[in-house]
Structure formats: C-alpha cells, structure tokens
Subunit: 507 residues, 2 copies
Amino acid sequence: MSVMQKIISCGTRLDAVTGPLTRLARCSRGIHLGSTDSAARKLIPNEYEEPLIRTSIPGPKSKELLKNLDNITKNTGGVQYFVDFKESLGNYIVDVDGNRFLDTFMQISSIPVGYNHPAVLDALRDPEYLHIMVNRPALGVYPGSSFPTSLDRALLSVAPKGLKHVQPMMCGACSNENAIKQALLWYRREKRGGDPPTQEELETCLHGQEPGCPPYTVLSFDGSFHGRTIGCLSMTHSKPVFRLDIPSMDWPCAPFPRLQYPLEDFEAENRAEEDRCLKEVARQIEESRAKTRDVAALIIEPIQGEGGDNHASSYFFNQLQKICKEHGVAFIVDEVQTGCCTTGHFWAHEAWNLPEPPDFVVFSKKMLTGGYYFKEEFAVDGPSKVFNTWMGDPPKLLMLAAVVDVIKKEGLLDLARESGQHLMDGLQDLQAKYPQHLSRARGMGTHAAIDSIDGDTAAKIVRMARDKGVIMGACGKQSIRFRPSLVFQPHHVDIAIDTFNDVLSQL
Amino acid sequence: MSVMQKIISCGTRLDAVTGPLTRLARCSRGIHLGSTDSAARKLIPNEYEEPLIRTSIPGPKSKELLKNLDNITKNTGGVQYFVDFKESLGNYIVDVDGNRFLDTFMQISSIPVGYNHPAVLDALRDPEYLHIMVNRPALGVYPGSSFPTSLDRALLSVAPKGLKHVQPMMCGACSNENAIKQALLWYRREKRGGDPPTQEELETCLHGQEPGCPPYTVLSFDGSFHGRTIGCLSMTHSKPVFRLDIPSMDWPCAPFPRLQYPLEDFEAENRAEEDRCLKEVARQIEESRAKTRDVAALIIEPIQGEGGDNHASSYFFNQLQKICKEHGVAFIVDEVQTGCCTTGHFWAHEAWNLPEPPDFVVFSKKMLTGGYYFKEEFAVDGPSKVFNTWMGDPPKLLMLAAVVDVIKKEGLLDLARESGQHLMDGLQDLQAKYPQHLSRARGMGTHAAIDSIDGDTAAKIVRMARDKGVIMGACGKQSIRFRPSLVFQPHHVDIAIDTFNDVLSQL
C-alpha cells in the first residue's frame, strides 16, 4: 500500500487541503489496528476526520496575537497558540492559522463533551438563559427562581452516592478554600461542644490571633496540587514554581505512595509503600495534635494530576478514611481533575467502595462550575460563614445540566471505560516497543499517563506531537498525561497512539 | 391633595395592581421635592414607575423555594427572597411573588447598568458569543482569537490613568490573592537583585518552609474587607463572623482613620487622626522589617465597604503612597467595590490626584470580571507563576465591553455624580430631621452611607424599607449603605429617600 493510499484509507479529506500542509501518515504503527464497535459511531456530527497542520506552531496569526496579548498581560509565557473556537469541534481544536489538532488535553481537562457540542449550544439558545446570564445574582442573598432546580438537575443528579448536599462556588481553588473552611468550622464546633464562642475569641479573630483564629491545620500530600490561592498553595506540594517566594501557612504534609508498575508484579512492594504512607499520616495527625496544631481536615486527590499522575489503591484510600474517622479529621477528596466520568466512574472515589462517602467531594473543571458535596453534619451552622458575593455562576449550572443529559443519553461513562482501555492498550504497546523511552503506563478510564525518561524529553514529546497535530499534556517530573473529553472515542485513541508512535520513532 | 391624587401624581400604574397590595404613599416627605433635568429622561425604556409590594417578604413562593434550596446547600441563612430575573428591569428587582423593589443594593453592588439592560442583552445575542460561552478556554495556554481585543475594549479602555497592563481573574478574592502574589514575587525578585533562586529555596518551598517561602507579609487595615479565601481573610478585619475559627497568616494590621462628620467642622481633628494612622503604618512597616517579616505590599480600599463605609482624605492616600515608595512596599488599591463609576470617578483613587498611579488596582463586582491593573515593573518574570486553569471568563469581558459602551454613551459617570449629590442632599435632610436616629451621612457619588444608632436598628431600618419596597444594604457596626447601579437617577433617589423617611417616621 502506498503512503497516499494509506492516507486515504484513514480518511483524509483532501478537499480540505488548501494551504501549506505537513501531511501526517497515519495507521503506520502496525501494532494496534483493531477497530471497535463504537469506532463506527460518530458522536459529534461532522466532526473532523483527523488533524491538519498548515504552519509551524505557533503560526503567524498566533504570533501576532501573542504580541498584542503580551503587551496587555505581560504574562503569556504559557501560551501555545490562539484558538478559533468557532471552527473547533468535538475532539478537534482549530487555531487561528487553520491548524487543526486532536485535543487529548482539552483546556487542562476542562471541556466535558468536546468543543461546540450541539446540545450545549442549544441549551444556551434557550431565551431564559439570556436573563440568567445578564443578571448575575448574589446567590447567597437574592438567588433566581430557577436556582434550586438547576442545582438539582446539574449537581444533585450526579452526586456521589450518599451525598445529598452541595455548595456551588466558582473555580477549583475557591471550592477547595471553602471546603476546608467548612471543615475547619465543623472541627471547632465539635471542639466547643455546643458552647458559643467567647468574647476573647470574637475579638482576637479580627487580627488573626489565637484563640479566635485557631492554629488548626489541614494535612495534604507530597506531590499534591489543590490550587494557587494562599490557602490552596499551602496544601500544594508538586512543583517549586507554584510556591516559590509566596508565604505559606505552616501545615503538615505526608508522603503519597510511589507505586511500581506493572502493578501485578509489585503487589507486596506497593502494599508496603502504601502502609508506610498511612503510618506517616497517622503519625503526623498525632504529632500535630500533641503540638495543639490539630489536623482538622485531610485533603487528597484520587489521582495526583499536576504531581505526575500518581495513583494509589482502593486499600490505601479505605485505610485513609478509617484513620480520619478514628482521629476525628474531616476527609476531603479533591476531584477537581478526576470528577465527571473521565476515570470511568462519575467520581473517581466511587471505585474505592468506601463504607461511607467522603465528608467532602470537591469539583470544578469538567463540571464547569466549582463547588463541593458534603455530609449533613459538616453543614455550616449560621449565615455569612461560608459566603462571598457570587457563590457560583448560574449559567455554568445551565450548561452543566445539558452536559449531564448528554453524558446519560450517549452513555459517555461507558465510553470513558472503553476508550480508556483502548488507550491503555496502546500505551502499553508503545512502552513495550520503546522501553528506552517509556515506562509506567497507568490510568483509570481515559485519565491516563506514561513516563518519559526526563522532563526535557517529556516536553519534547509533547511538542513534537503537537507539531504533528495531537495535543497532549505534561505533568510531574517527566510524565505525559491524557485528559481528553468524554466524546473521545477509540478511533481518536488510534490517531493519538499513532502520532505518539511517530514521535517516538523520531526521538 | 388627597392621598390618591398624590399617588397618581407620582406615577403609580394602577392597571398594574392586580393582587393584594400594600400601597405606598410617596412624595410625602415634604423636604426634597425639587426634580432635576435628568429626572425627566428615563434611561431604561419601560422601567417600572415605583415599587409594588403584594405579600409579606419573603412571600409564599419564595418560602417554598427557600425550603428546596436549604435542603440542598444547608447554607441559606442570608437569603432574602427568590428573584424573577426575567421581570426585573433597570433599578427594579421583582421577586417570584410579584413584589417589586427599587434596588439600591444591586446584588451587593455588582450589577453595573441595572437588570436586563437592553444593550447587554443585545451583546449576548451576538452569535459569536455562543462559541465564547460554550468553549471555556484555559486562557493562559489556549486563549481564543478575540481575547486580546476583548481585554482592550472591556478593560484597557477604562484603565486607571497611567496603568497599561491588566490580568483578568474570576472574582474579587481571587484577584486580590493574585495581586498580592504578584507583589510578593516582585518583592523577592528585587531582594535577589537578579540572582536565580537557590537550590535550598527550590526545595524548601515545596513544604512551605523558609527560605523558599519567605515570611514576608501584606499590611492591611482595621475594618478592611478583601475577600474570604485564607489569604484574603488574613487581610480582612471587619467582622468576626468572617474570620472566627479560620486559621490565618500572621500579617500586620494598621488603623484606618475614623473621621468625624461633617468634615468641614472637624478638619483639624480629622487631619490629626489621619496622621496618627499614617505614623502607625510607617512604624509597622519598620517593625516588621526589623523582625525580617518584611511588608512586601500594602492593600487598602478607597472606601471601606463591609467595614462600615469608612472614608479617608486624598491627603491620607497620597501620604500612604509616599510611605510605600519610601519603604519599597507595593501599593495595592482594592477597588472591587469602589470601581466602575459608582463614586463619580471611574476609579475612586482617581479623586486623590496621586503623583503616579497605584502599583496595583484590583477590580471585580460591577466590572463583571475580576482582575487587576498593574505597573510594568510589577509584571511576573516567567510562566506559571501567576496562573490557574481559567485565568478569567471571556463571556464576562464581552458583557463588560457592552457595559462600558453604555456608560460612555449615556454619560453614566456624570449621572453618578448628579444622583450622588441628590442622594447626599436627601440623607443630610433626613439626618437633620431625625438626629436621634441618623448621623454621619457620607458618600462619594452614589457610593453613600449613613449611620444608625446601633446594629439592630440599622438592620430594622433595612428590613422595614425592604417591606416598603426599597432594598438598601447594611454594613459595619451600624451603617446603612447605598450601592445602586449606574442607571440610578434622581427620581429613583426621591423614592429611596421618601421610603427611608417613612421608615424613620415609624421607628
């Protein structure tokens, strides 16, 4: 088969080629050609067939816009290119220079059902929506008539099993900040045992002094990322660039297990590693309490994202919850990146089969709105304790309700498992073929990653893949991560894996 | 003139009265009847003529919705009633029970040009907008093609004099958190004098330890409010309920002047009070530095809002900037509540005639998007230092661009001065008529307040006015505040003042 025949058999639309074009040969890996049932079904009508690269990246139009933007924000060091959001569709992002990428990173894991999903567009065409968008309420004081129904449709309908209460917020950092506040308020309330605050507490708190502002702490983990505000940064331990030069709360940090792969070959070692970390968690809680710096809450990601896609077992998380229960510490699961189906469970923690739900489950990103679910005993006990001007953003709830409908109607949770398995098979094939370049393929659903040999090589692979039309992400010290949308199908996996293969063969 | 004639002469639309109605007699104050030129011109087509109260507040439909909402969030202690945002228009908010209020509080000062402004609705009808709304970008990595233009139209076009750079964010708290971060990064950079961070700094910062996380501080003021995240709370000193039981950064706090009114009778006393506070600011900066807990930044509101509408003179702010310059401290002005014309200046600090702009000016609320302007020397020097997933919300920029057009086209800055003068005249009249109830009328533009005798009475006045159809706000220990939109005209002032008069006569 000639190269041109190969291209045509993979569905290149030659009529779309109108400019300078780096043609990408596809289907050449020769490892992973089996197509699946859902490959035939296209979830997004008129979705593009494949990437198309017309210019170097960033292209001339992006470069021009970058200059304009840098004149304004002076903070464009992370900008890749500028997007034509009108032309982007489904799994494909199109830039202003006409380059079209298969996007497996999706705005840092934040686009749930792909670009311009028709059902979400339709939701925004509802005339009611205009009034919701244009009159932004202070939801804690003057909520709109549709607010309870929106919460019900968008958030309660997908609540983690056993959790019936939810507080919307705006973004992930703000959700984590308020979840830990709510946990800290709970902890102090329990300590007071029903007594009101003292006059001294009321006076000292205004200046951040004890006893009004207690020296309570929140325990987090090495490698964690919970956001960039000062409170969240104090629980973030992944990369120096996040925290360097920023003052911090002095809060404890425990080790997160470092598992060895493949898991089935290292069962004993991994169990020992998890036990070591669990022991250290208990020790830190006890040590902090001995110093009257009580750990009021523990916060953890089901899979550490920024920290390098670090996983732990259900055993680990069950034991962690048990330790929290024993020590009266709130157990907060930060599902900002793992929530909303990507792991093959609506919430990643549902895979752990906990005897009872976490005390708080925090979300944002693909959920479009921030917020957190919580158990009733952790509710605030009075007004203006957990409060801010907006307390969320109703249009995002309306969009999320449409997204939830799509997820259910199209069976996207099952698809995340199916595409995830296909992706994992592909990564394992690549790892077997290029053991000098890749290791530790790991994932849950499509929430997957693989390690390169070092950070520079990981960045180079991501850059080369981008220049071939596939957007991947980097994370941790040397990992490459996949965070596709929920309309990422097995035939998209094939393109991603084929391109990855091309890159590796050229390293 | 009979009561009915009075009502008709004030414009009651009798045909609108279809349910049980507490009729409100207007124009009865007999103090302040002079109408002005702009009273004749109606800025919002078909705006209602006056409030209309049909039920007790909250009405039965609101009560039902409140029950539903409380089942979900367990945090509804502050909810007043539920809003029919479709029926609300201009200065009038309509609740789900058909009650219609003149709103001088506007979602905690956050609706710039009134409810359902036709020009803002039109902006959202632009088909381009749908693609901006439905595809939320990670603006620090993959911004949309229209992003630089949006920033230019919505934010640079109204930038404080001398400031050419702006970083959008999502809300006020997140803007203050990132502005202080950017200031702290600047401070450390200056200290390093061009040297790179040490290996020890890079390692220790991951655990929030020195020297990587320096013990630098941000100085704020008694009575201040800068937000509810842990970093912002550490700079907030207004009410115990905000801070009680929440751990805090140990940052310094200086006194904010407590001025005596009327200002013209207390010139010497007020100058002495301001000098006392300025001296204490300088002392705290020096003391902190001596303890190697350097004050890297000072943050202040032009008018303390939550703290009770506390003003200070241009002299005070000029001296403050001078102290910051002398000590190498970043001068951050938090205009989250004072920005966007409400004070009769687009930015309240423009009234101070500073020799150079503040180093940072933070905004949110009426600006719809959060963010901060900053001087070039305070820009970050690399990627991922000031960063988060979203870095703002493009649809809000699009709405703000429409708002800015309306402000310019309709001359709303001038109107804020005119309506503000009319409001201040009214408050001074009331204060003269009810000296036993009111004192310290003060304001800048329509950003006005007056003191009641205590907190309970202030709350009672606000509640009684609401039950008569006018929404006001409370703040500080015993103040009543006005935060109307920019389409608040003198004839609206008359209704507010008349109702206030009614309430006072019944106290």
